[in-house]
Subunit: 491 residues, 3 copies
Amino acid sequence: GSKQSNPKLRKFGLMLIGAQLAFIALFAVFVQYDWDALPVSLRSLSHQPSRTYRATHNDTAELTAVGLDPRLQQVKYPLRDYFSMYGDIQIMIFLAFGLFIACFKRYGYSATGMAFMLCAFIVQWSTLVHGFFHLTPDNTINLSLITLISADFTIAAVLISTCVLLGTLSPLQYIVLALIEVVVYAGNEWLCLSVLRVVDVGGAIYLHTFAAYFGLAVAFVLNRRTKECLKSLKGLTASSYFNELLAFLGTILLFIYWPSFNSVFAPADLQQRAVINTALALLASSLATFAMSAIVFKEKFSMTVIQNGALAGGVAIGSTADLMIQPYAALMIGFAAGTLTVIGFKFIAPVLEERWKLLDMCGVQYLHGLPGLFAGLVSALVCGIAKDETYGSSYWEAFPAAVPPDNSSAYQKLLVEYPALKPGFGRTPWMQAGFQVLALLVSVLIAMVSGLVTGLLLKLSVFDPIKPAEMLCDDELWLMPKELSEDQEAS
Amino acid sequence: GSKQSNPKLRKFGLMLIGAQLAFIALFAVFVQYDWDALPVSLRSLSHQPSRTYRATHNDTAELTAVGLDPRLQQVKYPLRDYFSMYGDIQIMIFLAFGLFIACFKRYGYSATGMAFMLCAFIVQWSTLVHGFFHLTPDNTINLSLITLISADFTIAAVLISTCVLLGTLSPLQYIVLALIEVVVYAGNEWLCLSVLRVVDVGGAIYLHTFAAYFGLAVAFVLNRRTKECLKSLKGLTASSYFNELLAFLGTILLFIYWPSFNSVFAPADLQQRAVINTALALLASSLATFAMSAIVFKEKFSMTVIQNGALAGGVAIGSTADLMIQPYAALMIGFAAGTLTVIGFKFIAPVLEERWKLLDMCGVQYLHGLPGLFAGLVSALVCGIAKDETYGSSYWEAFPAAVPPDNSSAYQKLLVEYPALKPGFGRTPWMQAGFQVLALLVSVLIAMVSGLVTGLLLKLSVFDPIKPAEMLCDDELWLMPKELSEDQEAS
Amino acid sequence: GSKQSNPKLRKFGLMLIGAQLAFIALFAVFVQYDWDALPVSLRSLSHQPSRTYRATHNDTAELTAVGLDPRLQQVKYPLRDYFSMYGDIQIMIFLAFGLFIACFKRYGYSATGMAFMLCAFIVQWSTLVHGFFHLTPDNTINLSLITLISADFTIAAVLISTCVLLGTLSPLQYIVLALIEVVVYAGNEWLCLSVLRVVDVGGAIYLHTFAAYFGLAVAFVLNRRTKECLKSLKGLTASSYFNELLAFLGTILLFIYWPSFNSVFAPADLQQRAVINTALALLASSLATFAMSAIVFKEKFSMTVIQNGALAGGVAIGSTADLMIQPYAALMIGFAAGTLTVIGFKFIAPVLEERWKLLDMCGVQYLHGLPGLFAGLVSALVCGIAKDETYGSSYWEAFPAAVPPDNSSAYQKLLVEYPALKPGFGRTPWMQAGFQVLALLVSVLIAMVSGLVTGLLLKLSVFDPIKPAEMLCDDELWLMPKELSEDQEAS
């Protein structure tokens, strides 16, 4: 009916207004500007960033530099350090991801539109949730570019999960999923980075692996490849020439800015390595994807496979990008990841689809799941074989948990050379390797359990689950330009 | 006819060549590189930037920092400070705006093409016009990244105005409109920033509000929603699936880089706040737009409304982004702006269209007009309640007109603490609030009067006004790919 | 046949795997992180960048600045200097170029896909080839952001050449062409920059001119405008409305980031000028293209001409962007370049196509060839009339070959003022002008000879040259969305 009110949309609207008003109220009570956005005279020492990968890792060079002249502190705004990369990451999350998933013929508006809506929701929600995990001594949440970048990482996790479910959720389900996943993700991130002290600068373990298996677990409960489902999706899972080119545009944007994502929270020379290693891994995975596609798929290239394989290197290098792995190893990791994605699409996908009836709409398993697991295992190896002399003065920055504990004499000795060093646990390389594997297992486990529960919850009729016939349909949600609606009536 | 010469195009071409040659001549006489693009040995103290918001606002922290070591001056190139944001703003103005207005089915080439042509014209023209308002003591115009960014602000104003008129102007009319509006805009900007000393870091008052009502005034004279007009526009105001996705891509780019636009001219911690507040306002206006759309439009989402509402927060926070409004207030302002846009499209548009016969092609009234007015009123309130203790050392940077006048003893006392402080007028907070409202009224008044005159001028047949039948038609101006022209012949 | 194996694709795949494995092996033996990506304690003085335009040009201001405090060296990461521009250039090369050539109706996938594949291949290959031209004393190749930017320059050269041949090469031929051209390009670059000490900050001579004539020479041998060829290309050289808009999007991205390309390797105030002059030249060439198109093509605008002409200014200013040419001269150079492109398309193209049967698929002659030659001649003039007093302290930075030779007393005297100055050849301005022309001739000559040889080689059947009937066809190489393949069967 063309002028009737849509009660589901109304419910969604009221829910969203409620959420936004709640965010405003919670921001009013808890959130204040971090020190860099405060007038110099109003800054206090309680305004120290305390929330990110960089905070759990030492940054001795920078700390020495600041020591040069305390007056520099006044004008050393992180804006200068973070702003350029913040823009890059915003492009990845808000724009490129939306394009990347705009590949379906009749789901371009919803894919980009719902992704954008989720972005706007999650930045606010993630700021609050992350903030509660890292409250300042005076019970406030400090807001800065670093907070906003952390929020973008959170969005990445949720969008990866919704990728599995693309086109199978109602607007209300999207929001409920985000509401839950942000909390679980923040908990898992805190567990991995602050408790297990895992080395994972680009989030291959706590972000990509977690998000992939969370999404797959939700899908396992919520939607299966039943005959009814496949019948109603027939034709809709096809891409169009134009949507596929937009998706490729998104792919290239992700490719270009991925080094910023993997390096933004790394200090000093670790950041330089993270940029270079990520760039190399992406190059090799792209080339491997073209090569392996040519061999494995035999007849022709598939845009979908190329798009996913090109980016697999960025995931696979995610936990080791800032380490001293040498350029050739970055190429090897990328090569393996691209190969893995192609093999996944060719040989593993049919099995999961036929036998497990798994409905993975965008192949998240092969871009985030398997490459994420691979990244975790690689990081265990790289941490295990790490040598003091290879890392030189950056050893304590790269492996903060290897720093001796607070009260040890070894720690006191190190303090002489690195006065800003935070105490650790005195882990040996292979102990760190064990923690890498542990974090990987923990992330998968938490993802699967919470994903299954979330899936069951989303099935409740109060959240308006959609029928197979409404899946992958822009028309259900958006006013469409004439041409298409006519087109559709005709067919 | 398919090979005939087009006398109107010829006239436009000659006019453009004349303009370009005149620009070259005027540049040869007046324009030189600013100090940062000159060899160190050739710099003089007359090479000081003197043209922007930042120039009328104090920047005490930076000035202190430079004081650390005069030799730093040699290598402190603004390129480092401005370049990243310059790129962001270029993307907004040259690319995203063009995409944003590429929404009409048959006007994609002209919308992006004419916008690009206007950009190339206005950067040069604006450099000269702004330069004449701020000549150096030796009667030259200094050219730097700051000049180029100012020119991008000017382009934004003209493109906003042409948005109202999209598809209803001939190439010659586009150029004439730009020729006039740049002069009026520069005058109004000078009046608001240098004379009235208004607080308006992102130009909500002197740019968005001005541009919206200038364009609407031109449209009021030039094109009305007559029956003939509506008949010939029938079908053409429809978007296509593909154009609408490009427009959404433009929307997201504007969303991502708007914080750069609102903060580029703010100093130190004011810049940090401008980035964060703008980001927050945009998030809230996006969420509000989805929510309000769901409730007000009832049945489905409209891409046009989502696109406009998502950005309304950036306009609405434009005058207060750098002030100490606190994060929750930024969310509130964004929430109100998004709501305002949705209500505008739903309830105000029909009235203006039916009763006033106003032809606002892109809904400029609801993205720039009303949110701009709202921004101005909000800024009056924020300035009025500003307290010394809230702003601390940044009080004089945020409110330069509050600095006591030159010869007062209060000013002498302040100079001891802030040696670089420029004298002001000793305004109280509520006096500043009054000036905010005054600037808002002045901007609307100047816009409307000059817009009406410009509209009358553009009606002259010498500027080749186009007939309703030629409106929104790429085919009039561009060689079209076969498919489409065939398509059109058929229909 | 729809499920048969494609032996050509298989050969291409194996070749690519071989290349990637060889790259990994060579990287393992030769490539290490440059000093900025190494831990501070492991850096040695042999880690000095030694490979780029900036290395052959003096950078006195920067060197003085670094001299302020040796401890700064620890935290002065080129990441800060180069990262923002690196991102810009990546967008140009990996994204915008692909869009720019996505203009053909049925070759969008291949144009963007093959360009992307070449990018991934060339970064690795170029790093090795350039590295061998600039081995460190301990026979290693240092990898940094500077290396990656140099690789992007190399990609630009190869993509320009393949533009001439767009749609006429098989995947294997693309790779073989890249394999050869990268070596010749690196040799020519080394000859121009390190031996002839040419002034060419944006590569108009050693990159654009070289690449254009290399590609044209290959095309001259490989594909001619025979009747058979023209017959099979009929309809395919047409653009579609949508592809053309994507190409325009690519044009605008190139326009926006071109200043980064032309300035990335220039030091200090030379960099500021390079940014400003490039921006101005592009503005004037854009305006000139609209104006001249309106006059010369008479009836309507052509998207192709506008796209090429808009960018001609960036090529034409490529050799002089960092010099003291004054803003008006930058506008003049751009104006001339835009005019040249329009005239090229209108009057020269028909002659080359009819009489020489040259098949220049994208008009590379008019965007890179002629404007490149023009840029070289302009640079000779600008170098010839360069005056000591105009350049002040930047004279030795802009013209490093003008520095007196090592053992001269003049050099010793200069060393007092500029302690970091590298010795030159004591060239006079008009001697430098001569070397500019020499480099231009050498570049064209090397390009043509190596291009002809490469063309002959590519004709060998082992490289799977494609038949005219397979040209410009995505369908040969890519799995296509249903709609199109149906569409095609019908027609």
